[in-house]
Every structure is written in C-alpha cells, then in structure tokens.
C-alpha cells in the first residue's frame, strides 16, 4: 500500500500536511490542539513544483533502499508491507535519507530521528492526508514502487 498524489488535481492547499502532522505524535488528529499545544511535524511534505504540486509520500518500495541501507534495523516493514521507523533504534546516521529516491524519509526537526509516512498505521481508517484532501488528489493504492 502507498499513498499517491494526483498532481493534476493537487491544489497545494497544504491540508494534507496539517492533518498528517496532527495525526501523529499523539495528537490523534486534533489539529487545533496539535498546533496550539504542540510542535506538530508532518511526515510527508508538500512539494510545490512550478505550476503543480504534490505530496511527497512514501512509496513503500518493494525493494526498499531505506530498508536495505539502514545500519541499525530501525527501518522496518510490518506485516501489511508498510515501512516504518522504530525510533528507538534510529542512530541518526541518515543512510536511509541518503538513499531514498523521493527525499521522503527525513529527520524530525524535534528529535533528529527519522520520521516518515507510515500510512497512519496506528489509527483507524485511511491515512489522514487521503481522508482530508478536499479534491481527491491523494489516493491509497495497493503495491509499491519498483526501485
């Protein structure tokens, strides 16, 4: 599974980032609380590329470079095929960052450890970015990207 963008219909409004941030770090989707009380950090960043934009989500690659490159075993794949970060194991070497073709996995500005899209695997339902996109420019689809 992965979330893909449809740049043709991405408005660049940024709601995906906002809801992504509010979904993680224990804010449980409460945008107001996340932004008023905390330091919400989106897992996926919006790329505004001249006239078009898209959300730079994780492709959960079949042969994932990050997973293969991680020196500490912090990058893991769960039974659903979702690649996620075991933050306790991350030593911040950024090897995964260096090999991710999408520039998706990035260090958290708070902890320095790597954060990435985990398809909101800790929450019910579809990922927050998909469910809050006002224009269906994000889709949850099966399969991973080839690398």
């Amino acid at each position: 599974m992965k979330v893909i963008s449809v740049p043709e219909y991405c408005l660049g409004c940024g709601l995906c980032e906002i809801y992504c941030a509010a979904q993680h770090d224990g804010y449980d989707g409460n945008v107001l609380k996340a932004y008023k009380r905390g330091q919400p950090t989106p897992r996926s960043g919006l790329i505004k590329f001249s006239q078009i934009s898209w959300l730079n989500t994780c492709m959960n690659c079949d042969d994932a470079p990050c997973l293969n490159a991680c020196i500490s075993g912090a990058v893991k794949r769960d039974e659903d095929g979702i690649i996620y970060i075991d933050e306790n194991r991350c030593v911040q070497c950024y090897t995964c960052v260096m090999v991710c073709p999408y520039g998706h996995a990035q260090p958290s500005s708070k902890s320095g450890r790597i954060i990435k899209c985990d398809l909101c695997r800790d929450s019910e339902g579809i990922p927050a970015c998909v469910s809050h996109c006002p224009n269906a420019a994000l889709k949850l689809v099966q399969g991973g990207a080839e690398q």
């Binding site: 992965k2 893909i4 963008s5 449809v6 740049p7 043709e8 960043g45 790329i47 505004k48 590329f49 001249s50 078009i52 898209w54 730079n56 492709m59 470079p65 293969n68 490159a69 020196i71 500490s72 075993g73 194991r89 030593v91 911040q92 070497c93 950024y94 090897t95 960052v97 260096m98 090999v99 991710c100 073709p101 999408y102 520039g103 998706h104 996995a105 990035q106 260090p107 420019a137 889709k139 689809v141 399969g143 990207a145």
Partner: protein, 416 residues
C-alpha cells in the same frame, strides 16, 4: 541445490534473502569464523559512545537464519577445492557445494609504524575491538586516532563523547579525504574543532613510544593513553587467491557477480563491483552495497541471470550534530563544481554534461536522497537545470523536472 556461504555478515544475510526469494527448498550453509553472528559494523562507534544504549548491534533478528532454514557452522575455511567443489574447514570437516559465495569481508590495515605493536595501540573494526576499547578507556584521559576516514572520525567522536581528549592525525591535507573536497572539509573541520577535537592534518605518526608519547614526523609529540589505528581496510582475499581465482584489489567478478569460476560468487567488502560513475570494478566497502550485492549474488546462485546494476560510492555520517552525505565523484578532476551554502549548510554538486556525478551535502538531508539516486540511475537533466537547482536554492521543488518525471511523480495521471 546446495549453497554454501563463506562469511556470516551483511553480504551473507543479503545472499540468504536473495536465494530464498527464488529457492525456498535448497540447502544453505553458512561458514562463519566470527564468534558473533551478523552485526552492523557501523554501529560499533555508537556502542563505544554509549555502550548501555547501543548494546544491540545485531543486523537481523536472532531467528533470521533459523527462519530461513540456514545451517551455520562456526569454523574457518582453510581451502577451497574447486575441482572437487569442496571446502576444507579448520575443524576437519569437508563441505560440498553446488554454489559458493565468498563473503569474507575486509580487515583493518595496521601500518608499519614503529611501536604500533604495543597492546595499547588498537584497531577499531569489530565489536570485539569496541568492547576492548570500552574496557581500556575507563582509566584513560587522552587518545590519538590515526586516520580521519569514516571509521576514524566516528571513533574520534565516540571517544570525545566519552569525555576523552582526542587528537586526530590525518596524513592527507584534509579530513575525510575520500568523502569531502578540501572546501567542504574546512567547514566540517571548523565545526569539530570548535567542539574541542584536536585535528592535525597533513601529518603522519612517526613513532609510538612506549612511554605513551606519540611522535609525529614534524617532531611534535602527543601524549595518549590509547592509540586507535583507523587508516583503512583491505579485502580478505587470501582464500580466493589460494583457490586460483582472479583477484585484483578484491575478488574480480563478472556482470553476474561470478568469479572466474562460475560456480563461485563473491559479494561485499571482499569483492570488486561496478562503480556506475567510473564504469570500473572497484572495492566499495559499504554496508548497503554489501547487502545489495549479497542479495543479487544469491538470486543468481539460485538460477537467475540478472545483471548486477552496480552502485556508487556513498556515505552518510553524523559528526557531533552535523550530517554529511556524499556520493559519487568528489575528486577535483571530474566535472563542473557548483556550490551553495548558507549558515551551517553546504551543498557541492559535480555535473558532467547534464548528468549529476557527485555531491556533498552538509546538513541538507532534504535533497540527499534524490541526488544520490540521480547519480546512480544516471538521470539526465535539461541543460542548465542543475545550475538552476543550485541558484534557486536546493530543495525538492527545484530538483530538475526530468528527475521527477523518471520517478513518475510529474505524470498527468500521477499514478505509479
């Protein structure tokens, strides 16, 4: 089919995964001379910096081999009998093989410096080394690290974090000589020096005196309770040489990761593989490569005929808070150098005919991944796009559109 792998570390793990991706039944035997199972060598510096926190350095879960029906024999191989397709082990056993993988790794180089044979002069390559040093520095206050490659730098950082006074001696003109240009090295050097690391470049150790005085060639003397040797590694090719396989610096392989004997493959730090930038076979002793080569060799051993795609030299390292990523060619002779910098950030890229061939990114993790990939996948940009990337300020949004098109992020339907 019976697979035998000499060596039990990263490349071996990759090979097991590769074999099992095609052959669920074949017998796999790993012959591993190390006491410890597969662990992540780069983690030993983290262990050294904070042993309680980083005690777990295993590369895979403890049941990794068992789950994949792999038999492990703790022994050393004395001889590869190619005509008989047999291995002679130091415990007297003989093991037959249908396919053999040489994944013997590398060993640290101990330079012939007078006094280097004293017991307080240590190499820093295995977890065993790290554990020894950890014990020895309980009473130590000062340390000299010889060599400022990645191992040396991480050793120096770990010991510095443990509260020791660290002297770093590099014979080249700047630190991280294989990774950084002189220009990029300056800022890293300053950053580390500001933190309190004593870095001496362009200088070599002449003698290590028994009185814990380390004399440099310029006559300067440093005192140290401990000396760490980190001047590089060399592939473990003795078995291959003895078996009559073709060996240069490492074991020579064809495009399918086969040695000159097509029943024998090699992968990891002992092997020479394709550097897609130089187009040459080189030893690139890096963990991600070891896994990838092992995996590919494993698949081919299991009957696939897949060309090895090759790889590029690349490194990511964090030193006292600074992240340094580099990949591809960083030497002065190749391509056009474009650079961008702001406070505590630096990006240097090397461009040759619209192709990116190398980069150094200091504290710029955002763009590192796509740049690495642009080099390794040889994705051409339109004329001037790399220049524009640097001029407009490097970011994902300024990466050449050709790159995103190859990743199919810019297609109209947006689907992958």
């Amino acid at each position: 089919m019976k697979y035998v792998i000499i060596g039990g570390c990263i490349a071996a793990c990759g090979a097991v995964e590769g074999i099992r991706s095609k052959d669920a039944q074949g017998q796999i035997i790993i012959i591993d001379g190390e006491k410890r199972g597969a662990y992540t060598r780069p983690l030993i510096s983290y262990f050294l910096s904070e042993p309680s926190k980083y005690s777990d350095v295993d590369y895979r879960s403890p049941d990794f081999f068992k789950d994949r029906a792999v038999e492990t024999i703790k022994a050393r191989v004395e001889l590869i009998d190619r005509p008989g397709q047999l291995l002679n082990l130091d415990n007297g056993e003989q093991i037959e093989y249908d396919r053999l993988l040489i994944a013997t790794g590398a060993s640290p180089i101990m330079p012939p410096i007078p006094g280097a044979d004293q017991d307080w002069v240590k190499s820093f390559y295995t977890i065993g080394d790290a554990e020894t040093i950890d014990r020895d520095i309980e009473a130590a206050r000062e340390v000299v690290v010889i060599g400022s490659g990645l191992i040396g730098m991480k050793a120096a950082e770990a010991l510095f974090k443990r509260g020791l006074k660290v002297h770093l001696v590099e014979k080249e003109s700047h630190i991280l000589p294989r990774q950084l240009t002189p220009g990029a090295a300056v800022s890293v050097h300053r950053h580390l020096a500001r933190q309190g690391l004593d870095i001496i470049t362009g200088e070599e150790v002449a003698v290590i005196h028994p009185d814990h005085q380390i004399e440099l060639k310029n006559g300067q003397k440093l005192s140290a309770d401990l000396v760490i040797m980190a001047v590089g590694t060399r592939p473990n090719v003795e078995l291959a040489v003895a078996a009559g396989l073709e060996v240069r610096q490492g074991v020579v392989l064809d495009d399918y990761l086969r040695t000159s004997d097509h029943k024998i493959y090699a992968a990891g730090d002992a092997a020479e593989t394709l550097n897609v930038i130089s187009g040459k076979q080189e030893v690139m002793a890096l963990l991600p490569h070891a896994h990838r080569e092992g995996y590919q060799a494993g698949r081919n051993m299991a009957g696939m005929d897949e060309l090895d795609q090759g790889s590029i030299p690349m490194n990511s390292v964090k030193l006292l808070g600074w992240n340094i990523c580099s990949a591809g060619v960083t030497g002065a002779r190749d391509g056009e150098l474009l650079s961008w910098y702001s406070k505590e950030q630096l990006l240097e890229i090397k461009v040759r005919e619209n192709y990116l061939i190398g980069y150094i990114a200091i504290n710029m993790p955002e763009v590192a991944g796509p740049l690495t990939n642009a080099i390794s996948k040889k994705i051409p940009a339109a004329a001037g796009e790399w220049q524009e990337f640097v001029e407009r300020g490097p970011s994902l949004a300024t990466i050449p559109s050709a790159y995103w098109q190859v990743l199919r992020r810019l297609e109209a339907n947006g689907s992958n």
